[in-house]
Symmetry: C2
Subunit: 455 residues, 2 copies
Amino acid sequence: MAKKSLLKPTLATILLILAFYAFFNTFLSPINPTTTKLDSNFPFESTGSSFTLLSTEKTSSNSHNSIKVYLYDLPRKFTYGVIENYLIARDSDSSKLKYPGNQHSAEWYLFSDLIREDRDDSSEIVRVLDPEDADLFYVPFFSSLSLVVNPIRPAGGVVDSNGGGGGVYSDEEMQESLIEWLEEQGYWKRNNGWDHVFICQDPNALYKVVDRVKNGILLLSDFGRLRGDQSSLVKDVILPYSHRINPFNGDIGVEGRKSLLFFMGNRYRKEGGKVRDLLFQVLENQDDVIIKHGAQSRESRRMATQGMHSSKFCLHPAGDTPSACRLFDAIVSLCVPVIISDHIELPFEDAIDYNKIAIFVDSNTAVNPGYLVKKLRKVSTKRILEYQKELKKVKHYFEYEDPNGTVKEIWRQVSLKLPHVKLMINREKRLVRRDLIEPDCSCLCTNNTGIISTI
Amino acid sequence: MAKKSLLKPTLATILLILAFYAFFNTFLSPINPTTTKLDSNFPFESTGSSFTLLSTEKTSSNSHNSIKVYLYDLPRKFTYGVIENYLIARDSDSSKLKYPGNQHSAEWYLFSDLIREDRDDSSEIVRVLDPEDADLFYVPFFSSLSLVVNPIRPAGGVVDSNGGGGGVYSDEEMQESLIEWLEEQGYWKRNNGWDHVFICQDPNALYKVVDRVKNGILLLSDFGRLRGDQSSLVKDVILPYSHRINPFNGDIGVEGRKSLLFFMGNRYRKEGGKVRDLLFQVLENQDDVIIKHGAQSRESRRMATQGMHSSKFCLHPAGDTPSACRLFDAIVSLCVPVIISDHIELPFEDAIDYNKIAIFVDSNTAVNPGYLVKKLRKVSTKRILEYQKELKKVKHYFEYEDPNGTVKEIWRQVSLKLPHVKLMINREKRLVRRDLIEPDCSCLCTNNTGIISTI
């Protein structure tokens, strides 16, 4: 009886506390949680696709320490318009506005995360609807898709002056048009662009205007086509490519992994990717190695899935630039990556110790006949299982659709840049004119006591 | 009656919740809150000084997101031993171990903050007693005091090869000895020093070994004597000097501030400080300007206090290096700083917009006869009051003894470096040997669209 009489008021108290908490959170938060209709630039609602576009939205109000991000309400041609043009150029149904699957789809995931109604309160960022409240400004131009709107693209990834294969859509004109639009924005001019975030995941995305947006935080795959004063680990964020094959959902183990090493991809690439042909030469006659020349297709993805799920190690040589989506395919396949790309930069490296999940070999050593297979055959099963265990731990960082995955981590990385953004804004306001021989840079340098291989 | 019967169990519930909270916090925290006696390297207890040294301590366990810092238990000669030698060299009472007042006393404030028993839970960092738990390692060598242990110091701040004026104490030997000690520490070698924090506030402190500690986070006054690969805004933290005059505790206003511009200090300095003599020439015959040549002394500090508290503007020309303590004297005096130091870097510039509290003029323009006074006389009282209001807002950042002041902000700045520290540690582990023409640096560069003056 005594118990029962205590229970009711106890529950009442807890409810009261929760109610107070909710009240404070809901009504006394600095961010106005009103629901706002998006303007007519975003009139489409897509159904039947894996991505649902929402026409209403609200800001999250629970993350008091979150960085506040304003999503620019760009003219429609820079977002849905790009998808539409892409689909029209392929005679596909453009009424659905489904963002086409590709390795550079981070631009879609980040955009759709910002506009969705049920944004996760645990996110590092909160979307604000008043630019005056914003710490950072996100520019959601689909710059990577824009690059490939016109289906015919010269081999090797370099685009012609029309931004594609001569269709009516011009990526270059879009880039110029974006800058023109930005130049009209007061917030763009206010801080010389330091507080703006651009996504240019394809190494050629935004290439024509990169010098004009370089103060911003760039979300990119690597620095292969950029100079040190345009982008860096300090200023920018390295994104993983979207993996293109299905993840391996089984447990760790080597039973189902009969082949030692797997690679499937283009044998011939430019620049850093020249190592590929040399690797083919030293690897293609090894019994337990599967190494195949092949371009991207649905069928080749199926074969790559099978190969990566049944091999112990997966080769990751440099492509035209140091990064490639294959690394992330290998990670979600629990196939230990063997990275042969001397200038690679890796996503989220403050949070991930890649030494625990991958093997690094420098290019010169890797192409020595016999070296690689000999080394890999010596790696014990115990050691492989350790790699796989670690791969399983960090896999979520490479899953764009995981609520605790890539998108959340990208926003965390972006939020880490804010102190530098603020520093540069304040510093530039008061810098006096100086005669400098070199650019005014603040750097983080390694002593470069490089190692040959981590095996 | 109903009210009363509800009250008791309500209180009981709240207490229960609090008890649970306390239980979780106290017993399930990852940091072990045991009280540990410091070892015999720290046997001194100072009484009667403004700094009380504590012989026992405990770690804070409430700051779950705080960065964990391990304070190295350095041999006594690097901490209290330096004070002792300093006092002995001056025939002072060395039994009290009072750290001598000087502009580079941040080394003392940070050390005594780390060892005090009642560390603030709201601090950005928490001290851990097990190095295995640490994110960062603090090396508490009093490097700035060590530089001036021997009283006779050649003019201009450059020390001779014996680290001073020929006494038995040798700062250079101390620096070498510190490195020898570090080389024996496993944690120092583990990550190439990236996770170590050094304080070298005097521009000459640690000068002999800086190349060996440069991977660490350096706490310093400016980059005047360091190369870009040794220190930078990205890697390191700029500290304010301790102000040497008393703060102005009155309200904002210009009534008590009859003189326009005040400066007292050494007329002749080397390098960037050569502007001083030129400024003397153009300013010394102006009616409402007080400009005096004078060295540091108790009497000159008294005069400077009076001057800074009764002037509207305070001149801050470069010294031997771009920074000087005078700026911080001006700030706590609510005397609007006029900064003539083209290469100055400023403390906490992500948090402080110096444009709101100071006037910047480039050296070439400032030495034009008549320019400066003409410009300053034109600044309206309203504008001066705005500057003063902002100065009042940020003053606490420059008060080392304020619990919400400099020490707290320095730790916040240090904690902001952790993502880069982790990135560099992980990245260096897997970097392969590369042939590079330039050092491997990641930079933040300004477009350097400098302005002439902010007036």
